[in-house]
Amino acid sequence: MSADPISSAPLRRTPLYDLHVAAGAKMVPFAGYDMPVQYPLGVLKEHLWTREKAGLFDVSHMGICWLRGPDHATAARALEALLPADIVNLKPGQQRYSQLLADNGGILDDLMITRPEGAENDGALLIVVNAGCKDADYAHIAANLPAGVRLEVDDAHALIALQGPRAVNVLSKLVPGVETMSFMTGRFAALDGQHIHLTRSGYTGEDGYEIAVPNAHVAKVWDLLTATPDVEAIGLGARDSLRLEAGLCLYGHDIDTTTSPIEARLQWSIQKRRRDEGGFPGADRIKAELANGPIRRRVGIKPEGRAPAREGTEIQDMSGKPIGTITSGGFGPSVNGPVAMGYVESAHAELGTKIQLVVRGKPLPATIANMPFAPHRYVR
């Protein structure tokens, strides 16, 4: 996700807008959409509810698109020219996280790619991108496709995410069989008579699903899910604190065109074949950073005491020399204390390094900490 660009254009609404307002949500502008930042439960309780039970998120502002080519290898190679993940060797039903890269290796956006199951879908790739970047992403992808491969924007589906340890129990009652899916896989299914696509993935560090539902039916599905005692609607506020505790990057904050995937510690998302073969934008820089280490790295930061250190906070070494900046920071409800992430010069990136954060003009002690702050509970 990315910050809302300043714009006078009217805010767009997702197909669930009326339900959010009726539920008493506080609506805020986000990436050009009028989105629920919290419901009457409040950010803190929404966060804890998701970790304990199941939270339902409207993420329909995100962009869904399809890449369609004559066969998988052709479509996969077309996408591989724009990002560093191995798409050619994705198995049917498998999902992968990657980043669209600029020629200098900076990150244009991060995205999820699923190779749909079924012989009839050979040559198709399902892509989900950030709301704030989607128009630029579509233009960038479309402008760089070879003949025979095309981009198809999907405006017909809304996207909702059911996240938390009870998500599997809740969803398997409506969509039998989803309990057998493993993390980062997708499939087509029927929900209340509707053709849907779902993946076992999310943005909270919890087990859960992201579900694409036809626009006209998503309100019914939302009502079905929220009618379950284990499910509460969750706003963008808790979505942000959940992903921060999970150590996941927020585009426009923790990653952007000035950061490379290696600086951002996303090297796990660049498979060996791509590292060896290259052939993606910024490959020279990324290979060099893999070999020699980047000049700065994204790190987890645990402030001592209770004061949160927010985005933009200067990071200093213990002598007071500036060594970096916090890119996401706040209060972690499950950690029950402040948590942050940011970039520091690589010499200061080792776990346990003592640092200080300049909050309201005063240096506050903090430590370079392991991420995630709240353990991932993916079902693999």
Partner: protein
């Protein structure tokens, strides 16, 4: 009965003799959401009217709390550091932030009464 005043920055002020007790309003805590951190001024600090002297942070953001009056801080509410959630539970009662000995009582005249504040909130 203490005199009650309100500022446009959503602080409440309760005056008892020359002592003003200051906190943030129920409306302010509702706008902030779940409060997770509070920093109050040190006892003995000289504060000027409209000076940022305390901090209240919700899950979402940090906000300054201003002293509506000039004077010296004679007491701060230490309970707020360990239980910041008090601000959500009892903003205009147990969750007072600090007390100031008034140096310029005439400053109170510029502040709103309850009805004036309610109208100010309704119009904003």
């Amino acid at each position: 009965m203490a005199i009650e005043k309100f500022s446009k920055d959503h602080e409440w002020i309760r005056i008892d003799g020359d002592i003003a007790t200051i906190g943030i309003t129920v409306h302010a805590q509702d706008q902030l959401g779940d409060v997770v951190f509070v920093e109050v001024p040190e006892v003995g600090r000289k504060v000027a009217a409209e000076e940022a002297v305390a901090v209240v942070e919700s899950v979402k953001a940090a906000s300054d709390v201003y002293s509506p009056v000039t004077g010296e801080v004679i007491e701060s509410n230490g309970d707020l550091a360990s239980t910041p959630g008090l601000v959500n539970e009892d903003a205009e009662g147990k969750a007072w932030f600090f007390k100031v000995r008034l140096a310029k009582p005439a400053e109170l005249d510029a502040l709103m009464d309850r009805a004036g504040y309610d109208a100010f909130v309704a119009a904003s």
